[in-house]
Structures are given as structure tokens and as C-alpha cells.
């Protein structure tokens, strides 16, 4: 196959994708609206979003979803159609950090856009109703929007014999019961954050509450959007992706959308040049730290962590941990509390999970994943060791 025919294949593929998305959006358009007679334009205006701002935002999202620029109008249309989608957001064993992250949604006034465009039926941190009335809202939404709503779950889930470590509501139902019930008739299920994706901090050794991932208590497919918390962009982007395709996005081995989690933090890191040049921070606060050298030797887990932080950053591109001079702690990886610590030492210099003398690593990590990470780890450790000898700056300071 020559380069020319590769190009043609790609164009064909792109065309097919374009047609598929158009069809999906047309189908969506035919769905009854939740808010009748709502004009999109007036809605945008009410939210202080000009048409120009909105298209700018759609362009950014298109790029983030790794779609060709020509798809921007489709993304814009998808956002406009999202008022057909009721959202139920459940809190399990969690810290509310993921909800807080959602509230930081960037681009001008995009949070009010989301506030109005999706129909937020149940969200304990934001909703006005309380007690029985809140319970009613949940039951009503599950019933009225059967098979149509998107379920987003934040938090690990104490389950089975430990399910009573979380109860919600006047009937004392367990979190597990509520999550199962809401999962049953959801159109799509997103586990928002590392806790609902993999169990999270409460599931770290010795997991005293028997907390598990959402995917362990439902037999329906769950899209994991891990991170502690995931960036506001990954939460909203995943939602948009679903609205666009109407199907599950391409997922990796841990059910994470590939558009956000396909690359390692290390791949696009702003300090990558220093890694390649063998320039490392040896201790926090040293000359290397002041110059922005690579943080690998003070424990950065960027080489083992799949996420788009290095590209998209957090809080409207304000910063991200590595910019703030601290290594990545690997928070979007399964069981990172047990496999990535101590967070301020390079992992490749250690056995996995040495905090507990290796206990648990075999049981928790994906075998192939461990194999790959170990190979990468050795390579990186060797590189760091060699560059210590070959540091071109040696003797300069």
C-alpha cells in the first residue's frame, strides 16, 4: 500500500464516520424534547454565550475528541441536542471531588450551558430538594426516563456483606441497592472518577469497607472516567462523546475512553525535553526544580499513567501537577494507591507495592499491564541512571 492509497482510505473512513454521526444526530433530533418549545438560540443567549463563543468551544471539544476539524458543526449540534438527555448523578463512598471538578467546567460560562442543556434530575450536592422529596426526584427520573437517562456515579461502592457501610434515604437502602436500581434502565453508565471506576482510595489495602468499582455491581457496560478527580474536560468530553455517537466510545483495557486515556502523561509532558536531555530534579527545591527539570527521580509516575493531563491541564488550563513542580501520582490508574507509592520515589527502583511487601499486586493489576509497565520502568530507570553519569551540565553549577 502506498502513501497515496493510505490517504484515500482515511478519507473514506472519515466520510463514513461523518455520515454515521449525522445519522445519530438526526435520530436524536427526532426524540421528544424534555423542555418543550425551547429555542437553542435563546437558551444560549440566556446563558451569556454568544454564537461565536459557542463555536469556539465546539472547536476545542472537537480537537479534544481527536475528530477532524470539519466535524465541529456536528459537535455543536450535539451540544444543542443534549437537552434531551436526563442525567442522574449518584454519590457513593466518595469525597465529592468529582462533582467539584464538574463545576469547574471551562470555556466561558460553559457550566451554565451544561446546567441548562442537560436535564440534571438528581445530584445531591446541587439539588434544591431534600429528604423524601429528593428521593422522589430520583424515583421519578428512573421511571419517567426509563432507558433514556445517563447515569453518572461518583464514589466506590461498599457491596455485599459490607453494603450497609453506606445507606441513603428514609428507607435505609444501601448505596449498592440504589446504584444497581439506577443502572438497570440507564441508556449509558459513566463511572466518574477513580473511586467508581476501580474502587478508589477506600478500596486501597486493606479495604476495610469492601468498596468496589461500579462495574462490579452491575452487569451493564460501564465507561470509566478515572482520575482523582478527572479533569472537568474529561467528564464533559465523555458526555459529549456519548451524545455524538450514541454508542460506547473506543475503550482501552480498563474501559477508559481512548480519546482521553490513550497516551501516557509522559508522552506529551512539558518537561519531556529535560527527561530526554537527562536533566532531573534530584530534590524538591533544588536548582533543577527552579529550572523545571524532569521530576522522574522525585517520583513522577507520568511514564506509567494514561491520561491527557499534560495536554489539557486543569481548571481552564491554569495548571497541572507537573507544572506545579510535583510528579504525577498516577491517579487514573487502577489501584494506584497501592501500586504507585511512595509517590515521591521512582517506582522502577522498587518492587510493586512494597508498602505491603508485594501483597496484593498480583491480585489487583492486569497481568499484561504489569508486564508492560515493568519493561517501561526498567527502561526509564536505566535512562535516569545513565543520564546521571552523562549529564552534560555536570560541573557547570
Amino acid at each position: 500500500m502506498n502513501i497515496h492509497s493510505l490517504g484515500e482510505g482515511w478519507i473514506l473512513q472519515e466520510q463514513r464516520l461523518y455520515e454515521k454521526l449525522t445519522k445519530r444526530l438526526n435520530d436524536l433530533e427526532r426524540l421528544p424534547r424534555l423542555k418543550e418549545n425551547k429555542s437553542i438560540e435563546s437558551h444560549l443567549e440566556e446563558n451569556g454565550v454568544s454564537r461565536r463563543d459557542f463555536m469556539k468551544w465546539a472547536t476545542a471539544i472537537t480537537a479534544m475528541l481527536a475528530l477532524p476539524g470539519s466535524f465541529t458543526p456536528l459537535v455543536a449540534k450535539a451540544a444543542k441536542l443534549s437537552d434531551r438527555l436526563p442525567i442522574i448523578w449518584l454519590h457513593m463512598a466518595e469525597c465529592t471531588g468529582c462533582s467539584e471538578s464538574l463545576l469547574r467546567t471551562d470555556a466561558p460560562t460553559i457550566d451554565s450551558l451544561i446546567f441548562d442543556y442537560i436535564s440534571l434530575e438528581y445530584h445531591e450536592t446541587l439539588m434544591a430538594a431534600a429528604g423524601w422529596q429528593a428521593e422522589h426526584n430520583l424515583e421519578h427520573a428512573i421511571e419517567a426516563y426509563k432507558g433514556q437517562y445517563i447515569l453518572m456515579v461518583e464514589g466506590g461502592i461498599p457491596s455485599g456483606n459490607s453494603a450497609h457501610y453506606l445507606t441513603i434515604g428514609g428507607h435505609g437502602h444501601t448505596g449498592e441497592y440504589s446504584a444497581k436500581k439506577a443502572s438497570k434502565n440507564a441508556a449509558a453508565i459513566f463511572a466518574i472518577g477513580t473511586c467508581s471506576s476501580y474502587g478508589g482510595v477506600q478500596a486501597a489495602i486493606p479495604n476495610p469497607t469492601g468498596a468496589v468499582a461500579l462495574s462490579k455491581i452491575t452487569d451493564k457496560p460501564v465507561i470509566n472516567v478515572p482520575g482523582c478527580p478527572p479533569s472537568e474536560k474529561n467528564i464533559v468530553g465523555t458526555l459529549l462523546h456519548y451524545i455524538l455517537y450514541g454508542t460506547l466510545p473506543a475503550l482501552d483495557a480498563y474501559n477508559r475512553p481512548k480519546w482521553a486515556y490513550a497516551k501516557r502523561v509522559h508522552d506529551l509532558c512539558e518537561r519531556r525535553g529535560h527527561f530526554d536531555a537527562g536533566e532531573f530534579v534530584e530534590e524538591f527545591g533544588d536548582e533543577g526544580a527552579k529550572k523545571g527539570y524532569c521530576l522522574y527521580k522525585v517520583g513522577c509516575k507520568g511514564p506509567y499513567t494514561f491520561n491527557n493531563c499534560s495536554k489539557n491541564k486543569f481548571n481552564s488550563h491554569m495548571s497541572w501537577p507537573i507544572q506545579a513542580g510535583h510528579g504525577c501520582i498516577g491517579c487514573s490508574e487502577p489501584d494506584f494507591w497501592d501500586t504507585m507509592g511512595p509517590f515521591e520515589e521512582p517506582v522502577a527502583n522498587r518492587l510493586y507495592n512494597t508498602v505491603f511487601k508485594g501483597l496484593g499486586a498480583d491480585a489487583t493489576a492486569d497481568k499484561i499491564g504489569v508486564g508492560l509497565l515493568t519493561v517501561t520502568g526498567i527502561g526509564i530507570a536505566a535512562h535516569a541512571a545513565i543520564s546521571k553519569f552523562k549529564n552534560p551540565k555536570d560541573g557547570e553549577e
Binding site: 418543550e36 425551547k38 440566556e46 466518595e94 469525597c95 465529592t96 471531588g97 471538578s101 463545576l103 469547574r104 467546567t105 457550566d111 451554565s112 446546567f115 450536592t125 446541587l126 439539588m127 434544591a128 431534600a130 429528604g131 423524601w132 422529596q133 429528593a134 422522589h136 426526584n137 457501610y165 445507606t167 428514609g170 435505609g172 448505596g175 478508589g200 482510595v201 477506600q202 489495602i205 486493606p206 476495610p208 469497607t209 468498596a211 482523582c228 478527580p229 524538591f284 527545591g285 533544588d286 527552579k290 523545571g292 481548571n315 481552564s316 491554569m318 495548571s319 501537577p321 506545579a324 513542580g325 510535583h326 501520582i329 494507591w337 511512595p342 509517590f343 515521591e344 508498602v355 505491603f356
Partner: protein, 576 residues
């Protein structure tokens, strides 16, 4: 007629899972109240046997709202144990991040969590935007988002919501409740600020992320200092801090301050906000370092509401007990010695008041036995209220020159007596006064940092953990919800023991062995509920504390507990 039981579960617009049950007499006056946390996560157990340098990162995950508080507490407890003093630059950077957190937290609390207890969204529909716009000038010199056109827009938007019956997050609340007191115009002003505050909170979160890498869960503190040295040495970054800080300060002065004064004037005859605080003991720790020696808020204890005398805190007198908490060891112990083994006894069956006022079958707590995952902390055997009200009262009583004028200003503008501070209203006002103090004086820390950076660029102090040595240390400070302490013991180079005694534990804990109630419960007793199916008064009182329940629930087990035991039976088999 026998007492009736009313349940409010979930208490929404808080962090975590909280259930309140009350018993009312035939006049709907609350005779008994039970505060119950219904989630347990066990982070103090999980942190054990880990590298002490990881403690701050793990303990930070106690809460994504108090996202900086537990991070700093975890880091500084280890520093205290190891005897490390971080450089001044690091301390002041932590102060700048802390100020961002306080401003963010208090703004979000007033508008998005507590606001709907004061604001009747539906009533705003009858407002005259022109009149409202004019009224805004009565409370603020430069009102924000209250121009006539702004308010017209907000009104139209809400009108559409209501007309379509699709209220989204506003659905099914207690609109039209008799205890709402604002005029339609005032409701409209606050509603406009509710929306504006959504933007402002995002800016204030950026203010923290600037030196923290991200928010929630910033990542730039390390044992010995801070890691964001590049940001500190970048003048444009420092300029950005200054700019965003002023955005927050402006909103606090011209919206938040104005709205709280307006609400205070209108609600000052409403019993659910003016009843005296249930626990009249207040405790607060000094906080917010401004320069080498000075802090913005003071330490101390006030007993029985007496502002004439402030006692100093003796940290040896802090204990926690679990008589009515779902743990098996009841006795009151100091945090260094505390032990906690889960002993869940669940609910019992009973009929309670349902959403339409009729009795329905429900689960209720066993108030004679154990009924919450939160323990009961006591100081010298006494319950204490902690939080911004305590911080403000103590600084006020001590004659703090930065705080006294702000308290007096609030009292003068509202015409309220000092006694009005010791109430639900006072609690809400204190949070505003604290925000104002930070907005007015916080930049002193910023200026000190700039001056210091000219001569000293240290951000980190080196240290070594000796595996053969045993260490113990603690952090005590005041965070947005009140006095927070973390207690750590280190042995063999790993965490041997960890305990967090957090603000919401002090306030939300169940009764102790002497039958003494904590602040949540004590504040509810005596309160009259107008409509049992719409217990807005209960929510109003509880929200005034800004509950943070994931923070409040924690566990520690005693020295030498074998972690393997958990694997045998994680629920009941915890014998240590």
C-alpha cells in the same frame, strides 16, 4: 398525642451522606434530634503502614471540598513529627492557597449550598427588575450582576424553567414555604448572584490551582515545603494571583457581604435563624499566616457564650468517644491513643411523617444504642462548636484589630445586638465576615512573600526519616469549617497510627455518655417546624454549619492492629 418522628435523608447540598431525625410534640416543636452519618470509608486505617510522605496525599482524599485542608494537615503533621520547619516562602505559599480555599468555600456555601434555604426561587418571578436593581444599591457600593437588564434576563430564564415544569436541580424543593422572608425583588437579586457565583467559584478555584497544579486535590505540597517554585519565581504568575484575588475580593464585598446583610435584616424575626446556639462553647485555632509572626485569626475557647474571657487551648484535653457511634470501643480517648472498630447495629422499623404529611413505614435510628458513624469529640469533657463563628467570636473577644471593625460593621448595618451572633444567622454571617477579613487583609501575606523572594528563594527544607526512631506529631489549625487536627505516629519508617479530628465531627457528633448533645442536635431542639412534610427549618439550621460529612467520618485503630484481620471479615471480625 405521642411524639412524631420526622426523617430528613438525604440532607442534600452538603458534602457527604447525612441523615437527621427529629421527634416533635403535638405543636411541632422538636423535643429530640439525632444526627447520623450513613457512610464510613476508613481512610485512617488505610494510611497505616504506608510511607509518611504519602500521608498528605491519601488524607487529602478525605474530602474534595476541603481539598487543601486535609492535604496541608497531613503534610504538616508529618513535618511536626519529624521536627521540620519549612522555609517562610513555603509557609506563605500555603497561606495564599489556603486563602483561595476559604474564599471559594464560603462563596459556594452561601450561594449554592445554603442559599436556597433563604431564597424562594419561585417568588423571584413576581419581582420588578427595575425596583430590584435600585434596591441593590442599598447594600453595596458597586453592586454586581444586578443591573436592570441583568435581572430581567435572570427573571426570564427562571420563568421558562417554571413554565415548563422542568426545574432541573431546582425541582421539588420547598418553594412557597411560610418561613421565606425576602421580597420578590430581593429573591431576584440573590438568584442573580447564585448564577454569578457559579462563575466566581471557577475563578477562585483557578486561584488555588495556580500554585496547586489543580483544584480539587492540588498537588504541590511536600513534606518540607512546596514544589511550585517555578510559579513563585515567575512575576507574571504572581500578577495573575493578584488579579484573580481581586475578582474574589470584589464579589465578597459587593455581593456576598451585601446579600448577607440584606438577608439578616429580613430574617431577623424568623425563629429558625435567631434561636440561640445549642452549644455555647466555642473553640478556634489561630490561622492564616500573614508574615513571619502574625496570623489573621486567633486561638482560644469561649465558654457559655461569655465574650469577657477567652481561655487558651490545651490540646491534651481533646478526646473522642463512641458511646452512640457505630464502633465497639466506647471510652473517651485522646487522638494519639484512640481506637475504633466498626460495630454496625443498623436501623429499626417505625412509622414516620412522609412527604405528604401522612405516616409511612420507614427505618429509624436506635437512639438508645448506636446511631452514627461520627464519633463525639469533647474538650475537657465538654462539647464545642467549631467553625467560622467560633473563629470570629474568639478573634472579636480578643480584640483582634482586623476582625473587630468587621463584626461591628455587620452589627451596625443590620441593627442587631451582639447576642444575634450566637445563632444560625450569626453562623452564616461569620462566614461572610471571615471572607471579608481575608479579602481585606490576605494580600499582606502576598506582599510579605514578594519581599522575601527578593532575598531568599528557598522553598524546601531537607530531612531524613530515621527508621529506627519513633515519632509523633500533629497539625492543628482552622479550616473553612472550623478547627481541624491530624495526629500521626511514625514507627519503622511507616505510619503506625493516624487520627483526624475534624470540624464536622465536633459539630455533627451524636450524644456522649453523659447525654450531652453536639451542636447539630442541640441547635435543633426547641425549634418549631411549620409543616412536617416540608422541614425547611431543619435544613436551614443544619446548612448553617456547612456540613462536611465525609470529613467527619473516620477511623483509627489502636497500636499493633494486624491488618490481616480485616481480610478475614471486614465487617464484624475486627478484633484488636
Amino acid at each position: 398525642m405521642a411524639n412524631k418522628r420526622v426523617i430528613v435523608d438525604p440532607i442534600t447540598r452538603i458534602e457527604g451522606h447525612l441523615r437527621i431525625e427529629v421527634e416533635v410534640d403535638e405543636n411541632n416543636v422538636i423535643q429530640n434530634a439525632y444526627s447520623t452519618s450513613t457512610l464510613w470509608r476508613g481512610l485512617e486505617t488505610i494510611v497505616k503502614n504506608r510511607d509518611p510522605r504519602d500521608a498528605g496525599f491519601l488524607m487529602q482524599r478525605i474530602c474534595g471540598v476541603c481539598t487543601f485542608s486535609h492535604y496541608r494537615a497531613g503534610i504538616e503533621a508529618v513535618e511536626d513529627a519529624l521536627g521540620i520547619v519549612p522555609p517562610l516562602n513555603a509557609k506563605l505559599t500555603r497561606s495564599l492557597m489556603n486563602m483561595a480555599l476559604f474564599m471559594h468555600d464560603h462563596v459556594v456555601h452561601f450561594y449554592h449550598l445554603h442559599g436556597l434555604d433563604w431564597v424562594d426561587v419561585v417568588s423571584a418571578l413576581d419581582a420588578d427588575p427595575a425596583k430590584a436593581s435600585k434596591e441593590a444599591f442599598d447594600y453595596a457600593e458597586f453592586p454586581i450582576a444586578t443591573g436592570e437588564n441583568d435581572l430581567k434576563k435572570v427573571k426570564t430564564r427562571v420563568k421558562e424553567f417554571v413554565a415548563k415544569g422542568q426545574l432541573g436541580p431546582f425541582a421539588n424543593a420547598y418553594w412557597g414555604h411560610k418561613t421565606y422572608r425576602l421580597t420578590p425583588e430581593q429573591n431576584l437579586i440573590l438568584l442573580s448572584h447564585y448564577l454569578k457565583a457559579l462563575e466566581v467559584q471557577r475563578e477562585l478555584a483557578k486561584l488555588m490551582a495556580m500554585f496547586g497544579g489543580k483544584q480539587p486535590h492540588p498537588q504541590s505540597l511536600t513534606v518540607g515545603g512546596v514544589t511550585c517554585v517555578m510559579d513563585l519565581l515567575d512575576p507574571s504568575r504572581m500578577g495573575e494571583y493578584l488579579t484573580l484575588f481581586k475578582v474574589g475580593a470584589d464579589f465578597i464585598e459587593n455581593a456576598y457581604q451585601a446579600d448577607v446583610v440584606m438577608a439578616a435584616k429580613m430574617f431577623k424575626d424568623e425563629p429558625s435563624v435567631t434561636a440561640p446556639a445549642g452549644v455555647m462553647n466555642f473553640m478556634s485555632h489561630k490561622e492564616m499566616q500573614l508574615n513571619r509572626t502574625e496570623f489573621l485569626f486567633d486561638s482560644g475557647i469561649i465558654e457559655n457564650g461569655d465574650l469577657a474571657k477567652v481561655f487558651e487551648i490545651n490540646e491534651d484535653l481533646i478526646t473522642e468517644e463512641a458511646t452512640h457511634s457505630w464502633y465497639s470501643d466506647n471510652e473517651a480517648l485522646h487522638p494519639y491513643e484512640g481506637k475504633t472498630n466498626p460495630n454496625y447495629t443498623g436501623f429499626r422499623d417505625m412509622d414516620t411523617v412522609g412527604p405528604d404529611g401522612k405516616m409511612i413505614h420507614s427505618k429509624v435510628v436506635d437512639e438508645k444504642g448506636k446511631y452514627s458513624w461520627i464519633k463525639s469529640p469533647r474538650y475537657d469533657g465538654k462539647p464545642m462548636e467549631v467553625g467560622p463563628l467560633a473563629a470570629i467570636l474568639i478573634s472579636y473577644a480578643k480584640g483582634n484589630e482586623k476582625i473587630v471593625p468587621l463584626v461591628n460593621d455587620f452589627l451596625a448595618k443590620t441593627g442587631l445586638p451582639k447576642a444575634a451572633l450566637f445563632t444560625t444567622l450569626g453562623r452564616t454571617a461569620a462566614r461572610m465576615i471571615q471572607s471579608r477579613a481575608i479579602a481585606k487583609h490576605g494580600l499582606e501575606a502576598f506582599n510579605t512573600l514578594i519581599e522575601n523572594l527578593k532575598v531568599d528563594q528557598d522553598t524546601y527544607t531537607s530531612y531524613k526519616i530515621d527508621k529506627d526512631k519513633e515519632y509523633r506529631g500533629r497539625f492543628i489549625g482552622d479550616v473553612p469549617r472550623g478547627m481541624l487536627s491530624h495526629w500521626i505516629r511514625i514507627k519503622n519508617g511507616v505510619v503506625e497510627n493516624y487520627q483526624a479530628v475534624v470540624p464536622s465531627t465536633w459539630n455533627a457528633g451524636p450524644i456522649d455518655s453523659l447525654g450531652q448533645m453536639g451542636p447539630y442536635e442541640a441547635n435543633l431542639v426547641g425549634l418549631k417546624v411549620q409543616d412536617l412534610s416540608q422541614p425547611l427549618e431543619i435544613i436551614r439550621v443544619i446548612h448553617s454549619f456547612d456540613p462536611c460529612i465525609a470529613c467527619a467520618v473516620h477511623v483509627m485503630d489502636k497500636k499493633g492492629n494486624d491488618l490481616g484481620t480485616y481480610k478475614v471479615d471486614p465487617i464484624y471480625g475486627l478484633s484488636c
